[in-house]
């Protein structure tokens, strides 16, 4: 139970971190805008909430002496994933601060870099916040105002990481990864509709055809049997 909850929380944090990275990539480029800055702020706050929740849950579990050895190893593995995720989040936040300072939006003399991106990041933000559509309600100078908050939040995250290191004694290098190299390939094949190249698309199609034919044969066989039985019944009676 606890394991599943921890995993779910961790997955959520992972998702938000990935989305945050996507958004930080677009700062300073042509798709940068006030909306982007607002999205960054909201995503970041959500990430922090999730981080705190994760930390609380994991620290209570790790401090629990009654946990079995395999479970403890599993929780340590989750802990390592959590701390790495937090490191990446902190780095991205620092970079966002630096880039935010370098590329203020309302200064006419400072121009954005022509990166060739035209679309917005609202889809990414919606994914991060787990909502359908993003609502934008911030003021028009959020890019400057937000930087102070960002600094404070970076300090908070830094303190949290320091506390974590001091309270929980999990050596990172003792954790063994569960996934082998190349594991990302196996799961995606099963997940999406995208198949392995053009050839396998046809193969898939042919497989589908075969299964359809098989189903058709079985159905017709059942039908014939039913008809024969009905005729027998009629004849006998």
């Amino acid at each position: 139970m606890v394991k599943e909850e921890c995993k779910a929380l961790l997955d959520a944090l992972n998702k938000v971190t990935a989305c945050y990275r996507h958004m930080v990539l677009t700062i300073g480029g042509t798709s940068d805008s006030q909306n982007l800055r607002e999205e960054l702020k909201k995503t970041r706050q959500k990430a922090q909430e999730l981080a705190v929740a994760n930390r609380n849950k994991l620290t209570t579990v790790l401090k629990d002496k009654t946990v079995s050895k395999e479970d403890k190893a599993e929780f340590e593995r989750l802990w390592v994933i959590f701390s790495t995720c937090l490191e990446i989040l902190e780095i991205d936040m620092r970079r966002a601060l630096e880039l935010g300072h370098e590329f203020p939006l309302n200064v006419p003399k400072k121009h954005l870099i022509q990166t060739g991106m035209s679309g917005g990041t609202s889809g990414v933000a919606a994914r991060a916040m787990s909502v359908q559509n993003m609502k934008y309600e911030a003021e028009h100078n959020i890019d400057v105002v937000d930087l102070k908050d960002l600094e404070n939040e970076i300090n908070q995250v830094g303190e949290m990481m320091y506390e974590m290191e001091m309270k929980v004694n999990v050596p990172q290098w003792t954790v063994e990864a569960k996934q082998d190299p190349g594991a990302e390939l196996k799961s995606t094949i099963s997940v999406g509709a995208s198949s392995i190249g053009m050839i396998s698309v046809e193969e898939n199609k042919s497989f589908c055809d075969i299964s359809k034919i098989l189903a058709g044969i079985i159905f017709s066989a059942v039908l014939i049997i039913a008809i024969v039985l009905a005729v027998c019944v009629v004849k006998l009676s």
């Binding site: 121009h111 022509q114 990166t115 053009m198």
Partner: protein, 418 residues
């Protein structure tokens, strides 16, 4: 417990300080009035080979994408006009922009050079600019390779495969995170417009081409050894110390140089000619024979040189030999032996330092010599002998010898008057 990375970031590498200057120029290029004119180009995916297999199956290619690009020639012209330098310099500078990853080529992604023939380039997003304080992280590279693996269904370049396996071993404890994050980033990327996704792929690829160069390509971000202390920090203290350093007036230092030159001019074989002849010209090695290290009779010029200063005497092996003889006559030879032993200690074998030091100490200093009963050096012995002889000669007077000497003298005196 985690081990926080020792922050030997690029800010400690002052050789990377020039990156800030490039950034200023790149930002100026973006100015709509005075910057470079960008073209909106329909990016035809089919002309870019890598995308064909990966993209076509998704059913839609990014043909509809209008993305701003720059021509190589325009970059060159802008640099020429803005900085007022020669074309060669401008070409080199523009090439550096591409090599450091501020601008990346579209048509030949792996060829990071500036071509002025109308090739298309695009600006890199600021997150991927090389920066002094943000080194390209191994974890990020692992995530990128995993993403590429997903996107290309396992088709990676050879060097990338090697890196992948190496990273898997190196950061194995993070590997679960790497895979999770790669999948999430891939999925999050799908939320963007197709054209933007393609641009993002190009950007990432360009970034990692610069930061993890494939074999055979020049690694421009090579900066030498990592420093632990930051010369950029504490600038005030650094400059204060620099001001406090004692300086010599140039008149004084130049005067010293002139004096040195005047003194050594006559001795210099190149400036004042050498007798009998310059061996390099006449192929006659007599000059070298006459001036061999420990030749029997040193040349006059050489001996004059010893008179200039003490270090000249010591440097010349023949001079040192003569000096040693002189010291022995004055019963002070052990001083030079001590000095030579110290030089041997300085420049000699490190493993024997302790033994040598003890030997020098015991043989030179007379502390408790009587107690040690170690035999003194032969010079001391001889000195003691001479002293003993002189003492004896002073105390025992042989009367007969003295009288005979006096007699002989008086006899000599007597004879002339005759």
């Amino acid at each position: 417990m985690t081990v926080t990375r020792l922050d030997q970031g690029q800010r400690h590498r002052p050789r990377m300080a020039f990156l800030k200057k490039i950034e200023v120029l790149v930002m100026e290029m973006q100015n709509t009035d005075t910057g470079i004119k960008t073209q909106t180009q329909r990016v035809m995916i089919t002309t870019i080979p890598h995308a064909v297999a990966a993209r076509l199956q998704e059913g839609v290619c990014a043909l509809g994408g209008l993305q701003s690009t720059v021509r190589g020639n325009d970059i060159l012209q802008w640099i020429l006009q803005r900085l007022q330098i020669t074309e060669e310099e401008a070409l080199h500078l523009g090439d550096l922009f591409v090599k450091y990853g501020y601008i990346y080529p579209l048509q030949e992604p792996k060829n990071l050079t500036l071509k002025t023939d109308g090739s298309l380039y695009r600006f890199q997003t600021p997150y991927f600019w090389p920066a002094q304080s943000w080194p390209a992280d191994d974890t990020d590279y692992a995530i990128y390779l995993a993403k590429k693996n997903i996107r290309r269904k396992g088709i990676l370049e050879e060097y990338e495969k090697e890196h992948y396996n190496m990273l898997n071993q190196k950061i194995n404890y993070k590997w679960d995170f790497v895979i999770m994050q790669a999948k999430e980033q891939y999925k999050a990327g799908k939320e963007r417009k197709k054209a933007d996704r393609y641009a993002l792929d190009c950007q990432e690829r360009a970034y990692w081409l610069v930061n993890r160069t494939p074999p055979g390509m020049l690694d421009v971000l090579e900066y030498g050894i990592d420093r632990v202390t930051d010369p950029n920090e504490n600038k005030i203290m650094y400059y204060q110390q620099a001001i406090m350093k004692s300086r010599v007036k140039s008149s004084v230092s130049l005067g010293g140089l002139v004096k040195y030159s005047e003194q050594f001019l006559s001795n210099d074989p190149i400036l004042s000619g050498c007798l009998p002849s310059n061996p390099w010209i006449t192929d006659d090695p007599e000059f070298w024979d006459l001036n061999a290290k420990l030749v029997e009779i040193p040349t006059r010029m050489r001996v004059e040189r010893w008179a200039f200063n003490f270090s000249e005497l010591i440097r010349d092996p023949k001079g040192r030999q003569n000096f040693q003889l002189f010291l022995k006559k004055e019963f002070s030879g052990e001083n030079l032996s001590f000095w030579e032993a110290c030089e041997d200690l300085k420049y000699g074998d490190q493993s024997k330092v302790k033994e040598k030091a003890e030997e020098i100490y015991n043989s030179t200093f007379p502390f408790g010599r009587r107690h040690l009963r170690s035999s003194p050096s032969p010079v001391i012995l001889r000195q003691q002998e001479e002293e003993a002889k002189a003492k004896e000669a002073a105390t025992t007077v042989d009367i007969t010898q003295v009288m005979s000497k006096l007699d002989r003298r008086s006899q000599l005196k007597k004879e002339p008057p005759k």
